[in-house]
Subunit: 201 residues, 2 copies
């Protein structure tokens, strides 16, 4: 029991660093964000960072998991709503994301995509976490596509897993272009073409 | 005439810096690459960088133009080959890119996409150059799509400009995922789905 206080404080400090790192990596990028900035944002002494994480890379791999854990809450909100058809759930997800990006001015994009571009070639521990989380994300789409095909709502005869990956990658590409254009039009167009594949005229 | 020597040397130094910056930004990223590294790679004194460029951002905007100028050579090789049908030219372009990325081990990706992610929110001079070059690139696809629709080769009734943007964005998303997966499968799948839209069974 004597250690309970310090351990609890340690868990809190660790959590604060991860939340701060997520915000800073998302807003400024991985290379542009130093450990000192993360510690300052988290309001913890810089020296304590390395008590909890062996390196910035190991830390960032955990930030990726935290980010995707939070995104999974949003995915569940959309995709577990069985009062909607499978493709309506997918459409609701896209529409919610479009409204979100419109509301924040088309900035920041997807932190997982951003970190992929900055680190995939150089940091295997991050690349593997990114790969795993992209696969989980795509799996949520694939479940909906499988159901939509089963009920006849989707007319696509493509393998649901492969189609789900294409949809996720196309969506990430549209988010990238959104930031360059400062407009949600690429997202609106991606949604329309994706539904053109699923529900052709 | 007295100034000709120094001017010529100046032009050469400037060009060396741009080529070095392109290689370093592509391999390591924008934030991870300092001006000192660029000058070292270019084998010019660090101090001379600011004789030619007012800032790293202004320099990077010119690097974007140089990169896209070089990519346009490749685009022209594929899309000006009128011995091929319009959609064959698009297919050849994708296949050439897939072989290229396979040959280098699925790394680096597209420098324009990489710089978009790192700078679009923060550096307007770069965002605007990226937007303009993405639009030119998409325009090359749109010309082929317009021709393919005219000849009946493409069955898509979508606006060629909007479809071209979707194709380019989906391709960029597939390149991003390629780096995470260390596999060209996302590119192969993107090609197949894009041709599924253009030439449905």
């Amino acid at each position: 029991m004597a250690n309970r206080g310090p351990n609890k404080r340690g868990v809190e400090t660790r959590g604060k660093l991860l939340v701060a790192g997520m915000a800073e990596f998302h807003a400024r990028g991985f290379s542009a964000t130093g450990v000192d900035v993360i510690a300052k944002t988290a309001e913890v002494p810089k020296g304590s960072f390395y008590n909890f994480f062996e390196s910035k890379n190991a830390f960032a791999a955990e930030v990726v998991d935290l980010y995707f854990e939070r995104h999974q809450v949003k995915l569940r909100q959309c995709f577990e709503d069985k009062s909607q058809s499978a493709l309506s759930r997918l459409r609701n997800y896209f529409e919610e994301r479009i409204e979100f990006f419109r509301s924040i001015g088309c900035v920041r994009g997807c932190m997982m995509a951003n970190l992929s571009i900055e680190t995939a070639d150089h940091v295997d521990v991050m690349r593997l976490r990114l790969a795993e989380n992209f696969n989980s994300w795509s799996g949520v789409f694939a479940d909906a596509l499988r159901e939509a095909r089963h009920t006849g709502e989707s007319k696509s005869t493509a393998n649901p897993e492969v189609l789900a990956d294409f949809i996720l990658n196309s969506w990430e590409g549209a988010i990238l272009r959104m930031r360059v254009e400062q407009s949600v039009k690429p997202l609106e167009d991606a949604k329309a073409f994706i539904f053109g594949i699923l529900m052709p005229n």
